[in-house]
């Protein structure tokens, strides 16, 4: 039979029973739609991270406790070789290439003041912190060396904390209580936005590290030491310098491994990028499974329709259709349905990705590759899952098929 005739027969068969065809296609529609939406979310996230990386300064260096060789990007959990204030002091003294060094002591607590309370992160840092982070003041001032030496109870608020506690009012000069200790607010930071991981960088209260260590009850430790260089070109040399100073400070023997990890902004970005790549793959896998389920749905309905259409097959055979004709008819039917379903799925995927972007504010990105892959895949699903029912139909004996009620 001519291909056009086959497609005509298949087309008639599909339009003749619209409900059945729609049900058959539904799995593919949802599957392809899901693949496109999910991959669009994943790719969008990757793009967004890329943008954030491009915005970030590239001369930031982060020192965290724990060897980097222990399970890749270790955060130092479970290792007790902590970072100490002495490490920071030594870096401060001996680091030739560093434009600034600051410890970051992290603790979480309730900040009470202004109109209510707000659970946030307290970072105990040194005076060089705004320079290292390239972070300007929105109002007020940052604390200085005398505040640190004097263990003064002063605090600088991130934009989010300021907004939540003092909606619109000027926070500078007000008081907040952290673990029942009153702190005087001397400044508010400019808004900085989210990190690549989606964390709100403005949801923070900065205070002198000495004050956080000594005035706030509870367990505190130095989560990281931040350093910066004058120019991005200095980073490799600066990292090496930090390494030597830290090894000396931690008294590490010549052939022993580092018990700390030094990363620059690019490393961090790579890690985040890796995470989103994994996430994209994961999303694609989930969506792929739904496509597979859609395929099985096609097979089910095709199988049911072979049974339901046994008489039709018998009639076609009685007037001269060969087994091969019936096989091709069923195959073409399932491929045509898969492709139509795939096309509708692409359309729904596009709209879905737009809707997701609209309602969540996430970045979504549709690549032509995704669309191609989804379409080719749905055609394959059609062939693969259409084949078994088609073969079943073709193997029917005309008399038995005709006798079927």
């Amino acid at each position: 039979m001519k291909p056009t005739t086959l497609i005509k027969i298949a087309g008639k068969s599909i339009t003749k029973n619209k409900m059945r065809s729609l049900l058959t296609m539904l799995g593919i529609i949802i599957g392809v739609g899901a693949v496109i939406v999910m991959v669009a979310i994943g790719l969008g996230a990757q793009q967004q991270i890329q943008q954030q990386i491009n915005q970030l300064g590239t001369n930031l260096i982060v020192i965290t406790p724990g060897s980097s060789n222990q399970g890749g990007v270790s955060r130092g959990a479970g290792t007790f070789n902590r970072l100490k204030i002495e490490d920071w002091e030594k870096l401060q003294r001996e680091g030739q290439l560093l434009s600034g060094v600051s410890p970051v002591i992290i603790t979480r607590t309730q900040a009470v003041g202004g109109s209510g309370n707000w659970r946030t992160t307290i970072n105990g840092v040194a005076t060089s912190y705004p320079l290292i982070r390239d972070w300007n003041m929105a109002s007020g001032v940052f604390f200085d060396q005398s505040d640190i030496r004097g263990i003064k109870k002063v605090a600088v608020l991130g934009a989010t904390v300021a907004e939540n506690l003092f909606q619109g009012q000027d926070a500078v000069g007000q008081t907040i209580r952290l673990r029942n200790v009153p702190f005087q607010i001397i400044g508010v930071l400019e808004k900085k936005g989210q990190t690549a991981d989606g964390a709100d960088q403005d949801d923070v209260v900065l205070a002198p590290y000495t004050t956080v260590q000594n005035r706030l009850s509870g367990w505190t430790f130095i989560a990281q030491i931040l350093a910066s260089t004058g120019s991005p070109a200095d980073i490799p040399a600066a990292q090496e310098e930090i390494r030597l100073i830290m090894r000396e400070s931690h008294k590490i023997a010549q052939y022993d491994e580092d018990d700390f990890t030094i990363r620059n902004q690019t490393d961090l970005a790579d890690a985040a990028q890796g995470t989103t790549e994994v996430m994209t793959l994961l999303l694609a896998a989930i969506a792929g499974i739904s496509l597979l389920v859609g395929g099985i749905g096609i097979m089910n309905i095709m199988l049911v329709s072979v049974t339901e259409r046994t008489r039709e097959i018998g009639i076609r055979m009685a007037i001269g259709a060969r087994g091969g004709d019936v096989l091709t008819q069923f195959l073409v039917e399932s491929i045509v349905m898969s492709l139509i379903g795939g096309a509708i799925g692409v359309f729904i995927g596009f709209s879905g990705a737009k809707a997701v972007a609209h309602f969540t504010g996430w970045n979504t990105a549709i690549s032509p590759t995704t669309v191609m892959v989804a379409l080719v895949f749905s055609a394959c699903v059609g062939i693969f899952f259409g084949f078994y029912p088609a073969r079943k139909a073709a193997a029917l004996n005309p008399i038995e098929a005709l006798r079927y009620e």
Binding site: M1, K16, I315, G320, D325, N397
Partner: protein
């Protein structure tokens, strides 16, 4: 070895159905010859093997043993797909239950056999289908689906479908079994008309009245031919129809 005017020739045709351990001999050696232009009625009680014979003659099924030549071609050992071609080219099969494709117009139903035609004769399928429908008296209503047609009209569509490929042979298994007596006579008139035009026709029936429209009656019992004779006083279906109509009007 074959006369050119022999359409069907079978010898020792047997068909055994095996169901588990029991065997049913539906055909027990049928020797049967039909020449061009005949109109044969195949009779017999229910279960005597009429349908079994028709299915084999119609190349829908294989005999268990014996030989079958159709139009000079040995078909009992042909492959399934070759048989499909034979069904498409040489045979028009008409069923008791019409067997039209549902949700498909009369025209498309009649076009269908030409879609499976590989011989290249399938130009103007629509035109041929319309002609075939006109031939059976269905000039109008060709866009109607089977569910919108009466039984007689459906059977006419089925006959048009059987005719459309110019087969050597029309086979009809109880074609009037689902029709009322008037429509039965109408359909038989159509068969007589086709036969008069040269078509070879085989009709299975268990009604004497119907069989008498044929030129020859073959009777089966237990899978064997027990009677094979010409019809002495052949009924003319057109006359019968006129008589029938007159009777009706008297009754009314």
């Amino acid at each position: 070895m074959k006369d050119s005017n022999i359409v069907i020739q079978t010898s020792g045709l047997q068909k055994v159905y095996t169901m588990g351990t029991t065997e049913v001999k539906a055909l027990a050696g049928v020797d049967f010859t039909v020449t061009d232009g005949e109109m044969v009625a195949i009779m017999g009680a229910s279960g005597s093997g009429k349908s079994t014979l028709m299915n084999i003659l119609g190349c829908l099924d294989y005999p268990t043993s014996g030989e079958y030549y159709l139009d000079g071609l040995r078909v009992d050992k042909m492959s399934k797909s070759d048989l499909a071609v034979v069904r498409n080219q040489k045979i028009g099969f008409i069923f008791q239950g019409f067997n039209l494709l549902a949700r498909t117009s009369a025209l498309e139903n009649v076009e269908l056999p030409m879609l499976y035609d590989r011989s290249g004769k399938k130009q103007n399928t629509k035109q041929k289908a319309i002609e075939s429908l006109k031939r059976v008296g269905l000039g109008e209503r060709i866009d109607h689906e089977p569910s919108e047609l009466s039984g007689g009209q459906q059977q006419r569509v089925a006959i048009a479908r059987a005719l459309v490929t110019d087969p050597a042979l029309l086979l009809a298994d109880e074609p009037t079994g689902n029709l009322d007596s008037r429509t039965t006579i109408e359909v038989m008139a159509l068969f007589q008309e086709l036969n008069d035009a040269g078509m070879t026709v085989l009709i299975v029936t268990h009604e004497n009245d119907v069989a008498e429209f044929a030129k020859r009656i073959v009777e089966l019992r237990d899978g064997r031919i027990i009677r094979d004779e010409p019809v002495v006083d052949r009924h003319d279906a057109k006359l019968a129809l006129k008589k029938f109509v007159d009777q009706q009007s008297v009754l009314v």
